[in-house]
Amino acid sequence: MKDDSFLKITGLSKSFGGVEALSNVSFDLKQGESLGIIGPNGSGKTTLVNLITGFVKPDSGKVFFRGKEITGKRPYTIANLGIARTFQMAKAFHHLPAFKNIIIPLRSPRVKTFRGAQYGERDDIAIDLLEEVGFERDSAVPLKTAKSLPHGYLKRLELARCMALRADVIILDELFSGMSMSEVASTLPIIEKLKEEGKTVVMIEHRLRELFRVVNCLIVLNFGQKIAEGSPAEVMGSEAVKAAYLGSEE
């Protein structure tokens, strides 16, 4: 294949019992591009992320990464290939101090191949990473146990995990939901910086203003179907999207 596509999915479908959570969704993403996915609640956005990252197996359809098929591979295998994700409901290790949360991805085979992730150095790397996502080192926030942290911090902990993996594709599932305005404002530059570093960012977001600062193309899902695709301006102008969001009264 002469394929220059980086992350490509074709015809992904998944239903849970009778509910068709996702049907026949495809897209194609080049390295360094960034994609936004929007859609009403329950439209299948999280399911799409789960399918790409291997947490759920698709009923049909395929996922390709760097030209190789990764459909149905285990989540950790996919993470090690370089696709990292955050969870919509932050999944922290509640009994561990925040920085220890980051040590776990630092032990993954992927990170072990990079220099500077040896035992003992990991603590420092983890705390540095947390500082980057805004855990104040001076007031010892990285040392607090995760369960004592406010929700916004947990979401940023998710982001830090992706950064620790040094993933090439970072999928953010409603990262900003549950964050305060100031947290969003301070997190946005981090994502923009990741983009500048050449990472491919896939962002699911209800906050459109922030989303449009990051992404240059957009997909809209509704009832598991892709109803629009294109640049943000095009997509937001489309009738189908308006109908999906406002309800199709006419």
């Binding site: 849970f16 789960n50 759920v56 197996k57």
Partner: protein
């Protein structure tokens, strides 16, 4: 051949009867009731006492012991499981500990030896396709069929039953629609206990009431549940048929001793091929792990 089929069928129904209470509780509340074996023995033990120590008439003794055991189930939820709900470790240890505690308690209270035997409902036997089948076993067949039908009717057509199914499918949504999760879970444990007692009273007249029977029954219920898929009634039926028939076949052609090996092999095989059992919710499991 006909004998093998008939006895295989009876065996299967016994398996199903033993398991149904366990899987009902699990399917609705997500609680694996390791005290199931204790409920089973308790059902028989209580009715034996009502019958022999207090001189109750048999039908009354049966009714009371079923109710009492069901009540125990509800109590177990209300006073123990309620407090540790959601912590799997604690749920398992609590039911496991209570199960063993009560079984050993029965032993200490004197449940050993050959005295403890429940009478058959009706004596005598019947010739069926050239095989003699006693009435007790026929009753078990009928009872099994009736119970399965009843359960189906209950979960599909009564309000409580529908609430059961709602909780089993999606606890959060069910809660939003006003189903009380705790009350439902309590009921499910109560029903699980009552079903264990019914099974015990029907099956125990074929053998002695013994403490070991409690552990034995728990293993069988676990085996059937694992192979059939925990939450599914269909799974229970199919797995019971598999075990019931294969047990008779193995016993006839090899030796009765090998039935346990078949069981172990079936468990391991199923876990390797379809970890959530034949009819279990495979996808769900995989996501929740």
């Amino acid at each position: 051949m006909a004998g093998m089929l008939i006895y295989g069928l009876i065996n299967s129904i016994i398996f199903a009867l033993i398991t149904i209470g366990f899987t009902l509780t699990f399917g609705i509340s997500g609680i694996a009731n390791f005290a199931h074996g204790a409920f089973y023995v308790a059902g028989a033990y209580i009715s034996w006492h009502l019958l022999n120590s207090l001189g109750f008439p048999y039908p009354l003794a049966i009714a009371i012991s079923v109710l009492v055991t069901g009540f125990f189930g509800a109590i177990l939820y209300r006073f123990v499981l309620f407090r540790v709900r959601g912590v799997i470790l604690s749920e398992v240890i609590a039911t496991f500990g209570l199960g063993i505690g009560f079984l050993e308690l029965f032993r200490c209270l004197g449940l050993t030896g050959y005295d403890y035997k429940l009478p058959k409902f009706v004596d005598g036997s019947l010739e069926l396709l050239g095989v003699y089948v006693d009435y007790q076993r026929l009753i078990i067949i009928v009872l099994g069929a009736v119970l399965l039908l009843f359960l189906w009717f209950f979960t599909h057509h009564t309000k409580t039953g529908l609430a059961f199914r709602a909780i089993a499918q999606d606890e959060h949504t069910a809660l939003n629609f006003g189903v009380e999760s705790d009350r439902t879970a309590m009921l499910s444990l109560g029903m699980g206990g009552a079903l264990a007692a019914i099974a015990a009273i029907a099956i125990m007249p074929l053998s002695l009431i013994a403490v070991e029977e409690g552990h034995h029954i728990l293993i069988l219920a676990l085996a059937v549940g694992i192979v059939g898929g925990m939450e599914s009634t269909m799974g229970v039926i199919v797995a019971s048929l598999i075990f019931g028939l294969s047990q008779i076949i193995v016993a006839t052609y090899l030796s009765p001793n090998y039935t346990m090996i078949v069981m172990l092999a079936a468990i391991i095989l199923i876990l390797l091929i379809r970890p959530s059992g034949l009819f279990g919710k495979f996808k769900e499991l995989e996501e929740r792990i």
